[in-house]
């Protein structure tokens, strides 16, 4: 039996809400699903906004599949202003009062605006923007067009995404970060240093260990004053100082709220008729802020709500941070491992000049953390091993250097003299070296005769060089004594 009645309202049409809306109809039967999205847009992929900043795709290029048909009603541009859990209704910005049997909060998060002189968080100056929504992107792009220099405040993942996007447009980008190294939540200092060097090569300069102290935004530019007294001028300032879960509705509805809306393994809030997923939800003390867990939550909730699997439970998996763009290839997962721990096996490789760095931490044959930056051929394997908790290879080098040697392309052509008689030269016709030698002994002295006598090379033909090599070797040693030897 389904846990809910037929009317499901989803508040929020971002990555989590849109995913749930897409998952539900396929499973829901006759449920009536209403999605209320505050943003005035179709469902879009927030992950791709940095590509939009970079000018690699247009707005249509970031649109996601939208749930449609099957009694689903998507209403963009509609805010929910109040929830009445007792009456099971929501009030919208249009003044509608909508009843629900089950309500899902997918309200996401809001970009933080730091409390700096010169910034009004409710009304940012034209040349200052946060970087979270499609509208934010439009704001940034409207200023970035014709701009030469941009500042990004905050050197976390999102700030660096924005920075490299703007750098791709040809802007001179400066990132101001108050901590000693970039992405300190995911990286160790050495990786942070390699990353800073890589970014410098892409036109992004990092200013580390320095805070911002004031903003002066004018019609023709913006100046950021730093705590060391420096002043950085630019055409544009992007604030990337973190995201806070949007919990206002939940709080005013009387739901249990900590940093996020507190949910259990079934994504249920303190009200059994209300669930929460995505960036606004807090599960087991964690607010994730990432897409993979939000989508997993959407999948689990869809199973629970439709009764497809009422026992479905959300089990958080360790998350992987990935920054991949032209010139940058960064994967970070698990504990960055800042201290040495005798119980932890460490692997590392560093080639800072070429921008390559890898550090892996292994406990009991399982990866507990990894940082990989630059050209690491095994990065896909490392991510999967970490994600699935699978045992690491016995030969640890393959994690740093890629596939083990015997999987690299075709085996080198061996010297005919050293090749054992039992070596298969022609795979298609199972012709071993011994058979070629016997054929030669029996009188074959040309390729045509060898081929006719053994069928070597007559399948795919790729062993032709090897057979010619053996013929050459046999001809070269064709003296009475050695011929005896070969024949023996």
């Amino acid at each position: 039996m389904s846990e809910s009645g037929n009317r499901i309202i989803i508040v929020g049409h971002g990555m989590a809400g849109a995913r749930l809306a897409a998952e539900l109809p396929a499973r829901a039967g006759d449920a009536k699903i209403t999605v209320l999205g505050a943003e005035q847009h179709r469902a879009y992929n927030r992950i791709m906004l940095s590509n939009l900043l970079a000018g690699k795709v247009d707005e249509a290029g970031v649109e996601l599949t939208e749930a449609a048909g099957h009694g689903i009603d998507v209403q963009p541009g509609v805010q929910v202003t109040a929830v009445d859990p007792a009456a099971r209704t929501v009030t919208t910005s249009r003044g509608d009062l909508l009843g629900y049997d089950h309500l899902v909060l997918a309200t996401g998060g809001r970009a933080l605006v730091p409390p700096l002189p010169g910034l009004d968080r409710d009304r940012l100056p034209d040349r200052v923007a946060v970087f979270r929504t499609l509208d934010d992107c439009r704001r940034i792009l409207s200023v970035a067009t014709g701009a030469r220099r941009a500042l990004v405040l905050g050197g976390g993942l999102l700030g660096l995404e924005a920075a490299r996007g703007l750098a791709t447009r040809g802007l001179d980008v400066h990132v101001v970060h108050p901590v000693r190294h970039l992405m300190e939540r995911q990286l160790d200092p050495a990786a942070g240093a390699v990353l800073a060097r890589t970014l410098a090569g892409l036109g992004v300069t990092a200013h580390l260990e320095v805070a911002a102290s004031a903003v002066d935004a004018r019609a023709d530019g913006v100046t950021l004053t730093l705590s060391d007294g420096r002043e950085l001028d630019a055409d544009l300032l992007v604030l990337s100082c973190g995201v806070r879960p949007d919990v206002e509705l939940a709080r005013s509805a009387g739901l249990t709220v900590d940093r996020g809306v507190v949910v259990d393994d079934r994504l249920r809030t303190s009200d059994p008729h209300i669930s929460a997923i995505g960036d606004c939800a807090q599960h087991a003390g964690v607010v994730t802020g990432l897409v993979a867990p939000a989508w997993e939550q959407a999948r689990v909730l869809a199973q629970v709500l439709t009764g497809q699997d009422v026992r479905a439970r959300y089990r958080p998996r360790p998350s992987v941070t990935r920054l991949k763009a032209a010139g940058i290839d960064l994967a970070a997962m698990g504990d960055p491992g800042l201290g040495l721990d005798p119980g932890v096996e460490e692997l590392s490789f560093s080639d800072p000049v070429r921008g390559t760095y890898a550090r892996l931490r292994i406990v009991g044959e399982r990866l507990t953390g990894a940082i990989m930056l630059g050209d690491n051929p095994a990065v896909g394997t490392v991510i999967q091993l970490f994600d699935r908790g699978a045992p690491v290879p016995i030969d640890r080098r393959t994690l740093l250097l890629g596939r083990s040697r015997d999987t690299s392309s075709a085996p080198p052509v061996e010297s005919p003299a050293l090749m054992p008689d039992s070596a298969t030269v022609c795979q298609c016709n199972t012709v071993r070296k011994g058979a070629l030698v016997r054929c030669w002994r029996a009188g074959a002295r040309s390729m045509d005769e060898l081929v006719a006598g053994t069928r070597a090379t007559t399948g795919c033909g790729s062993c032709r060089d090897a057979v010619e090599g053996i013929l050459g070797w046999l001809s070269a040693i064709d003296t009475p004594e050695t011929a005896e030897e070969v024949a023996a």
Partner: protein, 724 residues
């Protein structure tokens, strides 16, 4: 016994040498057969596909002709539990016919089923479908091609309106700038095709292979993507995602020649490379390199094979690669395109002419009234007399002997005891039949449990046509008559129809019953001719106007033109070597994009079954191995099954190279020696499916079916491996 095949081709009774094609895979390599004093000799022949190449299977194909295991007399089992014993043809056929009559009288016409094969000639596949619908009046016919080509076929039809494996000549592969092979191990399954890969490489082309194993083919690639089994679809969507982001999509082509792109574009937006990297294990950098090679080359070809197709999401996986091909503007562009590599010898023709449950000749649908009217007209029956669609191969096999299922099965050209998924279940269903009839030339594992075995001719003893992987119709030519006691499949079907009383033609506007007594060969000629040339002439009429239109193809034209590509509707018009140059055979002439999403394999790994199993082939064996296991040089080259596993996995299991291991799934188990190799992922094991008994990996494989094609998920299931 008269054999039409001989009469049709030769003025004398035998010839000393004929130009024909290999009996095995869909490459249908050209070969010459020559009679010497004591044997039949095989010589490679220059033909536009194999260019004079042959693999070991082809070279040794004639060794089965006079093999001691060759069946030369019918066999009959007197009662369950008794041994098969030799019998005369009249006795064996009486047993078949009386069994069919009794079962149909008691349980209805659908209680007798037919199972065909993708190795049968066009003439035989066509006749088998007609025999089921007209002589038996049963809807229950399907064939082993369901396990082979059905996913690619369904995806091709829904995207292009047509399913021809390669819509361009094979030679195009050699000139491709970028060639992508998805789940295709051609270096083992069709070695002479590798000549085109070598040509492609020598011209500076890029070869990309997607395969969970570093196969002999993957090792020749410029770039090998080695995904977790069951994640190809996500990889394809990621490649499209990158192509969109990088501006490699051919917008003009998409606008002018396709429909449905917007929806697919939005689906692709949710397959950003890092997400797919985590799903598949393929590094983002490799996904990007592959997308670049595909998106920026001049001539680009994308090919899928069983690795991508034999999944419970096989149709959607193929669709994902077709979407990619369409977005890049490949289909119909000279030198570019999408295609699938057909497997069995007549895997193409065998899926066109009516041995499929839902199909009539010419690739017509059996539920289409116009198709029924046309074919009924050719067959001399009323459209309403034709049965409707039957059920698919695995569903048919698992219904056998059940209260509501068929009670009798006639098998031609297939060995499902070895080749079907969840084969232990299929075997027990076959054993529960009241009557199992197998036509074969050796005692296959399926023949061994039959009630009646009918010895049939081999390829060198019959004439007919085969349609190769390019859609090129070829001539198979007889070198010699079948040995005494052996009949052709067509002769067997003709004789059975005759004995069932449906062998002669009905008069136009005849009475209410199609069953009439009378001997063949009078008046308008037999309804079920044994002469393949006569059958082909009828097939031409039956296929006329269909998607796979053979109306303009004659044996003479095939001889004169090195084969003729279908569709070929008229005798004076050329065949169609390249499809889609001007449009697609869809209602609006546009190819269709269809949004497809990744989904997990039907059975994912878990603590009890922690390892993925995937299955496939080895070079020296073919299909169920019934033929190739009996050929000494092939047996020496590949003497038995094995389980391929990574040294890391083996070390954790305490297994050494050569140790006997036990592979267990929720369905069954298999034993074979371990073969350790670094070419496989540590989370995956591989076994070839050519062997029977304890070494039968299909005892273990999954019977989850694709919702559209009903293709079983041979290529991924969850297993436990332990030292036996």
């Amino acid at each position: 016994m008269t054999d039409g095949a001989q009469a049709a081709t030769h003025s004398g009774d035998v010839s000393q040498e004929v130009a024909t094609h290999c009996p095995y895979c869909a490459l249908q390599c050209g070969m010459t057969l020559r009679r010497t004093a004591d044997r039949v000799e095989v010589l490679p022949r220059q033909f536009p596909t194999n260019r004079g190449g042959l693999c070991q299977k082809g070279w040794t194909a004639a060794e089965l002709l006079d093999h001691p295991d060759r069946l030369t007399t019918p066999l009959v089992r007197d009662r369950p539990g008794a041994e098969l014993r030799p019998a005369s043809w009249p006795e064996a056929l009486d047993r078949v016919v009386s069994g069919i009559r009794r079962i149909q009288a008691e349980h209805g016409r659908d209680a007798v089923a037919v199972f065909g094969g993708g190795g049968l000639t066009n003439e035989k596949a066509y006749t088998l479908g007609k025999f089921a619908r007209v002589a038996l009046g049963t809807r229950n016919i399907d064939y082993n091609g369901r396990f082979c080509m059905s996913s690619a076929a369904a995806a091709g039809i829904r995207a292009f309106g047509i399913d021809r494996g390669l819509p361009f000549p094979l030679a195009d592969l050699g000139t491709a700038d970028t060639l992508l092979l998805v789940g295709a191990n051609v270096a083992e399954t069709m070695p002479p095709l590798v000549r085109y890969l070598i040509e492609q490489r020598e011209r500076g082309g890029t070869l990309i292979v997607i395969d969970p194993r570093a196969t002999a083919t993957a090792r020749q690639a410029t770039l090998h993507l080695q995904p977790t089994p069951g994640t190809d679809l996500a990889v394809a969507n990621a490649l499209l995602h990158i192509a969109l982001a990088e501006g490699w999509v051919d917008k003009h082509y998409v606008d002018a020649r396709t429909s449905g792109f917007e929806q697919v574009r939005r689906v692709a937006a949710s397959y950003w490379p890092a997400r797919v990297e985590q799903l598949s294990g393929v590094p983002v950098a490799d996904l990007e390199a592959a997308a670049r090679a595909l998106g920026t080359a001049g001539r680009t070809i994308i090919l899928t094979a069983r690795g991508a197709e034999q999944h419970a999401k096989g149709v959607d996986t193929v669709t994902a690669f077709i979407n990619l091909a369409l977005a890049l503007g490949l289909p119909g562009r000279p030198g570019s395109g999408y295609g699938c590599l057909t497997g069995q010898g007549n895997g193409q023709g065998g899926r066109e002419h009516g041995q499929k449950a839902d199909q009539l000749p010419g690739y017509r649908r059996i539920d289409d009234p116009a198709a029924r009217a046309h074919v009924a007209g050719v067959w001399g029956v009323r459209p309403e007399e034709l049965p409707g669609p039957g059920i698919s191969a695995y569903e048919l096999l698992t219904a056998l002997g059940t209260p509501d299922g068929p009670k009798a099965l006639l098998v031609f050209g297939s060995n499902p005891v070895v080749s079907a998924p969840r084969a232990n279940r299929v075997e027990s269903r076959l054993r529960d039949l009241d009557l199992l009839v197998v036509a074969d030339f050796v005692r296959s594992e399926t023949a061994a449990i039959a009630d009646v075995v009918l010895p049939t001719a081999q390829w060198a003893e019959e004439d007919g046509t085969m349609t190769n992987l390019e859609g090129r119709v070829l001539r198979r030519r007889a070198l010699r008559p079948p040995p005494p006691g052996v009949r052709t499949d067509l002769a067997v079907l003709a004789e059975l129809a005759d004995r069932l009383g449906t062998g002669s033609d009905v008069e136009p506007a005849g009475g209410g019953s199609t069953a009439r007594v009378g001997s063949a060969g009078t008046g308008t000629g037999p309804r079920f001719p044994a002469d393949p040339r006569v059958v082909f002439e009828e097939l031409r009429r039956a296929s006329a106007g269909g998607v796979a239109d053979y109306a303009g193809i004659s044996w003479e034209r095939i001889d004169a033109e090195d084969g003729v590509f279908w569709p070929c509707p008229t005798e004076d018009g050329a065949g169609t070597a390249r499809l889609f140059a001007d449009g697609f055979p869809t209602p609006d002439g546009r190819a269709r994009f269809l949004p497809v999403e990744h989904r997990a394999a039907a059975e994912e790994v878990c603590p009890d079954y922690p390892v993925y199993l995937t299955t496939g082939r080895v070079l020296a064996q073919y299909q169920s191995g019934a033929q190739t296991r009996r050929i000494a040089p092939l047996h020496r080259a590949a003497p038995g099954a094995f389980l391929e596993l990574h040294p890391d996995l083996a070390a954790r299991l305490g297994v050494l190279d050569g140790d006997e291991v036990l592979v267990t799934s929720r369905r069954g188990e298999m034993r074979a020696p371990a073969r350790l190799t670094g070419t496989i992922r540590p989370d995956t094991v591989f076994a070839p499916f050519h062997w029977a008994g304890q070494a039968r990996i299909n005892s273990v494989t999954s019977d989850a079916l694709d919702p559209v094609s009903r293709m079983p998920e041979f290529k991924v299931c969850a297993v436990r491996v332990e030292k036996a």
